[in-house]
């Protein structure tokens, strides 16, 4: 609908003289072609991964196309260590997503809903980790763990993932909270709901899309993180660390298979969320206007 109004001024401009119109059409088409090429550039490497997961490579690296084969898909965990690495990644992603989403949502609520002194510095403090290169975040944590003599491993990775996910969750949830209608909560309390009931029955359902989006982002960031994990992992291997080790020695097609699985899974989750939100919006639209 909005796109229709967007195209309108362009179309009225087209009613001018012939050669100018042709030139404009060419620019229009050129822009679309350029955008299309950019999109292809974004998607080609994904296609390469999906295609090469069906390759039957000769030698240690999966870089040259040889022959179509289902072998790697039939036995995705056939490479020693790959299953354990993936399992570590999943555990860390789930736990860090849960912790960061809860902590981050509470922080975002506090930031948007209340007036208090020091909000500007708090906002800034939450922003700094995002403006810090990952390698610095990881190196700083490692410095602390080294000074404590802490044992690096699953625990330190988890701590690090919660830390870098927190700021992302706060910012995502906060962007949804802005414009939140507080009178709905007041109405609930006027009708006798306790603060906890108000939160559960009014606040949470309203902010849930933002929270879900934040959780998805956190999960994706965690399962994908390499740099910070690499510095703080000790001997524990996550899936990205496994790939890093393999990249120097041998790249079995199973790596591409698991990457394809993660891709398809995340895509399905995304589509499901979008579909769910569309449905919720449609249902909300049915309700009578206040």
């Amino acid at each position: 609908m909005e796109a229709g109004t967007a195209a309108a001024p362009v179309r009225t401009r087209d009613e001018t003289r012939g050669p100018i119109r042709l030139g404009r059409r060419l620019i229009d088409v050129g822009l679309n072609v350029y955008a299309g090429l950019a999109l292809i550039y974004l998607l080609v490497p994904i296609a390469v991964i999906l295609v090469f997961s069906f390759n039957d490579p000769r030698g240690r690296f999966n870089f040259i196309w040889q022959e179509f084969s289902f072998d790697a898909w039939k036995d995705p965990f056939g490479v020693p260590g790959i299953g354990d690495a993936l399992w570590n990644s999943i555990q860390i992603a789930v736990l860090s997503t849960l912790a960061a989403t809860i902590l981050g949502t509470i922080t975002a609520l506090a930031l948007v809903r209340y007036e208090f002194h020091g909000r500007a510095p708090v906002n800034f403090f939450i922003f700094i980790p995002l403006a810090t290169p990952e390698i610095v975040l990881g190196a700083a944590l490692l410095s602390m763990f080294l000074n404590f003599g802490a044992a690096l491993g699953f625990g330190t990775i988890l701590i690090a993932h919660i830390m870098f996910n927190l700021s992302f969750v706060v910012i995502t949830v906060r962007s949804r909270l802005i414009g939140f209608d507080r009178s709905l909560e007041e109405a609930a309390q006027d009708l006798g709901a306790s603060p906890l009931q108000t939160f559960r029955l009014v606040t949470l359902p309203l902010i849930l899309p933002g929270v879900v989006a934040a959780a998805l982002l956190a999960f994706a960031l965690s399962i994908d993180d390499f740099v910070i994990t690499y510095l703080n992992a000790g001997a524990t291997i996550t899936f990205p660390l496994f790939i890093w080790g393999a990249a120097r020695v041998a790249i079995p097609p199973q790596i591409y298979v698991i990457a394809s699985m993660i891709f398809l899974f995340t895509l399905a989750m995304m589509l499901l969320t979008v579909w769910q939100q569309r449905r919720a919006e449609r249902m909300a639209a049915v309700r009578p206007e206040p």
Binding site: A35, E115, F125, P133, I243, A259
Partner: protein, 290 residues
């Protein structure tokens, strides 16, 4: 009185868990890294705190090449991402119509493939006897026997690709928000398309440009994966040095000093940009309760 006090304290109480986590695992580690960066000694004798500021001067003089290279590569990658991303964001926002969400999903799809795998995919695409190199050789752009992989070009291409969605998303968000009536007004006042773009669309999308360039530049400048997988030691960036000093050479003081210098330069870049764009846009805090 006591309820008023409790109300005043509530936001701080809600902030405590999230900010506490960031304080303990982000701010405190930075202090430890500062402490580490001022130590003197060797790996054999152990490192002892000694206000050893020469770590910083040595780090700058020894690794100025890698520093300059990091910012050069990151700057070029940011520029290319802007040139590729802006038209795409523009087309999706103004002409996407009902395909908008699907197109946006395609833009973030690369994030669903593990970062290292995306980079390995480029290694496959640009490999010596691959389609791209063969074509470039036929066209005479790459000399016979010439390579694309392990060159400056392949590292910058990898950086551009890996952080491109970070550029497109904020660009899209700010272009999409532009009030079409302003564009129509521009045309009604006989503005040519170029004028309307340069004087209306582009200035209004500046917050997106600023956010996008930062989100691309920061991770690109600290990256070491692209230089490692798509380049050679001749393309090593500052991230490679920090990583190897920490984990391979165990030269913690130098690595810590390098990290701080990198972080300091980043903060300066962010603050300069913030002056250009206004912090509100940068922190995404417009519209909070006042």
């Amino acid at each position: 009185m006591s309820t008023r006090l409790r109300k005043a304290g509530l936001p701080y109480l809600l902030l405590l868990p999230g900010l506490g986590w960031l304080a303990i695992f982000f701010a405190v580690p930075l202090c430890y890294m500062a402490f580490e960066s001022l130590k003197a000694g060797t790996l054999e004798t152990g490192y002892l705190f000694d206000w050893n500021f020469s770590n910083y001067t040595n780090a700058i003089s020894d690794f100025s090449e890698q520093f300059v290279r990091s910012f050069e590569y990151a700057g070029l990658a940011t520029l290319f991402a802007l040139l590729i991303g802006y038209p795409l964001a523009y087309v999706i926002a103004f002409r996407g119509g009902r395909w908008r969400n699907a197109l946006l999903l395609a833009v973030i799809a690369p994030f669903f493939i593990t970062y290292l795998i995306r980079t390995l995919s480029w290694e496959t695409i640009l490999s010596d006897d691959g389609l791209v190199v063969d074509t470039l050789r036929t066209l005479g752009i790459v000399s016979e026997g010439g390579r694309v992989l392990d060159t400056t070009a392949s590292v910058i291409a990898g950086l551009t690709y890996n952080f491109l969605p970070f550029m497109i998303l904020p660009l899209y968000a700010s272009i999409e928000r532009i009030d079409h009536r302003l564009l129509e007004a521009g045309y009604d006042l006989y503005g040519r398309r170029r004028d309307v773009f340069l004087r209306v669309t582009l200035p209004l999308s500046m917050p997106g440009v600023v956010a996008g360039t930062l989100l691309t530049f920061i991770p690109a400048a600290g990256d070491f994966i692209n230089a490692e997988l798509l380049g050679t030691p001749n393309q090593y960036m500052i991230g490679n040095v920090i990583q190897s000093r920490f984990l391979e050479l165990n030269d913690y003081p130098t690595a810590a000093a390098l990290s701080f210098i990198l972080m300091g330069i980043m903060l300066i870049v962010v603050l300069v940009w913030a002056r250009v764009a206004g912090t509100e846009a940068l922190l995404g805090t417009e519209g909070e309760a006042r």
